[in-house]
């Protein structure tokens, strides 16, 4: 079960997410920087809530983990359209 895929864009499994938390990650960006979860084409739009829930359950104490900052562009945009 630990090899369930959490982030499909970057092919990151649950076991890797758990390892990142074990390593000290205390936020969604912290997990991302360790194992690339949410770093790909969809920018965590699909996996971030799941990663947040995993982190919340691991950290316990009811703290809301820090999420990845939403950045422009809101969806992939062709560079030629940006410079036009």
């Amino acid at each position: 079960m630990n090899d369930m895929i959490i982030c499909r864009c970057e092919g990151v499994c649950l076991s890797e997410v758990l390892d990142a938390v074990e390593d000290g990650a205390n936020s969604v960006p912290g997990i991302k920087k360790r194992v690339r979860v949410g770093m790909g084409y969809c920018q965590g739009r699909v996996c971030q809530p799941i990663v947040r829930d995993i982190l919340e359950s691991k950290l316990g104490n009811g703290t809301k983990p820090h999420l990845q900052r939403a950045q422009n562009p809101v969806r992939p945009v062709i560079l030629g359209d940006i410079v036009r």
């Binding site: 920087k33 790909g40 084409y41 900052r69 422009n72 030629g80 940006i82 410079v83």
Partner: protein
């Protein structure tokens, strides 16, 4: 009893210092207000550009650092995505050619055998470069590395050597006794040590200010665009000459001509994404991205590589580079105060200089003679 050192700051610089200190037998505690690489080191590019460094003490350090990088993967037992990719500074105008020619001459004098090559040779070395390109520099020893991997690997290696790492622990205060720093007070506890090294980049001045120590580091925002994954496209690290002229820029007139300080700095990550930078702006601690800057960076990128017009951008981000007025980091003790050291202010040179900074700071903090004369990097150079 061993020597106790606290390193405040878990970026490239702090983790490297913690590693080299632990390696030399010190009892190290590395603390960060958030996480490893959660600030500047997690929002930068991957270039270990040596040829872009200003000839002089910084270039000398960068050369030593590059030598350390070559063995670091084996030493840390981690794939750091280190690659000797070579590097180019591409030249679009005659004015740029003149500036770069002078710089190359200085570098050759310092023992860096950078060459000026024609536009045709540049296009042969890096297919896809624009037909309009006038010339370029080329140096085969420029390299690249994944700064996230370096930060995490340094931290893990330090931990294996006995270092304690405390994340999510903001430093509230440096504790002093007479003229000596005796430890730090975090949000949770008081930690005592024989020495404290502040490696907090752009956040260094706030930590030292209560001691009456003025650290002239100013945050300089740089923005980077991230592309979708692409097949291998970039063979080398590439900067535009305007990136260099912006870096060296001082006068207000140039600021007016381009308030965003846009110059191309482009590389491709292991995963295939392009990191397309960048800009240089003094906007305080603001990390908002700016669509206008995205557009300007896009323009210089497409001008250099016309095929990039078809590439999708998936994200933009900014990082705060720790700028100093003379483009050199501050490395060493604080005059008139014991037990406190600073290693910060690398601006865009942090990736290149991280290993040597860690090694030399460990030497200084442990009371050894540093392997290089470090007076050029002292905080006291600003006291005039």
């Amino acid at each position: 009893m061993s020597y106790k050192v606290i390193v405040a700051g878990g970026g490239l610089i702090g983790t490297s210092i913690a590693y080299y200190l632990a390696k030399s037998g010190a009892e190290v505690t590395l603390i960060d207000s958030k996480d490893i690489a959660s600030g500047t080191s997690g929002s930068c590019d991957r270039a270990i550009m040596i040829q872009s460094k200003k000839p002089g003490p910084t270039l000398d350090l960068a050369i030593k650092s590059a030598a350390l990088y070559q063995d670091l993967e084996e030493e840390l037992e981690v794939d750091l995505e280190y690659r000797k990719s070579g590097g180019m500074i591409i030249i679009e105008t005659k004015e740029e050619l003149k500036v770069i020619k002078d710089m190359v001459a200085l570098q050759q004098k310092s023992g860096v055998d950078v060459r000026l090559i024609s536009g045709d040779e540049a296009r042969k070395r890096q297919p896809g470069l624009s037909e309009d390109l006038l010339a370029s520099t080329w140096w085969e020893h420029d390299a690249e590395v994944n700064p996230l991997k370096v930060s995490f690997a340094m931290a893990s290696a330090a931990r294996r050597l006995g270092a304690v790492i405390k994340l999510g622990s903001p430093v509230r205060n440096l504790m002093t006794e007479k003229n000596r720093v005796i430890g730090v007070e975090t949000s949770e506890e008081e930690l005592y040590a024989d020495a404290v090294v502040v490696a907090a980049g752009v956040w260094t001045p706030q930590l030292l200010k209560p001691l009456g120590v003025d650290v002239p580091i100013i945050p300089r925002q740089g923005q980077i665009l991230v592309s979708e994954r692409l097949p291998p496209l970039l063979r080398t690290g590439i900067l535009s000459a305007s990136y260099i002229t912006n870096k060296l820029r001082k006068g207000a007139s140039r600021e007016a001509a381009d308030p965003f300080g846009v110059g191309l700095a482009i590389g491709q990550t292991h995963s295939g994404s392009l990191l397309i930078g960048g800009s240089r702006q003094f906007v305080g601690y603001n990390t908002e991205t700016n669509p206008e800057v995205t557009q300007k960076i896009g323009e210089v990128a497409v001008r250099a590589f016309p095929q990039l017009a078809k590439v999708r951008i998936i994200r933009t981000f900014t990082g705060l580079r720790p700028y100093t007025a003379d483009a050199k980091p501050i490395l060493g003790a604080v005059q008139g105060m014991d037990g406190i050291y600073i290693a910060a202010g690398h601006e865009g040179d942090g990736v290149a200089l991280a290993p040597i900074t860690g090694k030399i700071m460990a030497q200084i903090v442990c009371g050894e003679e540093p392997e290089k004369d470090m007076r050029a990097f002292s905080l006291s150079r600003f006291k005039q």
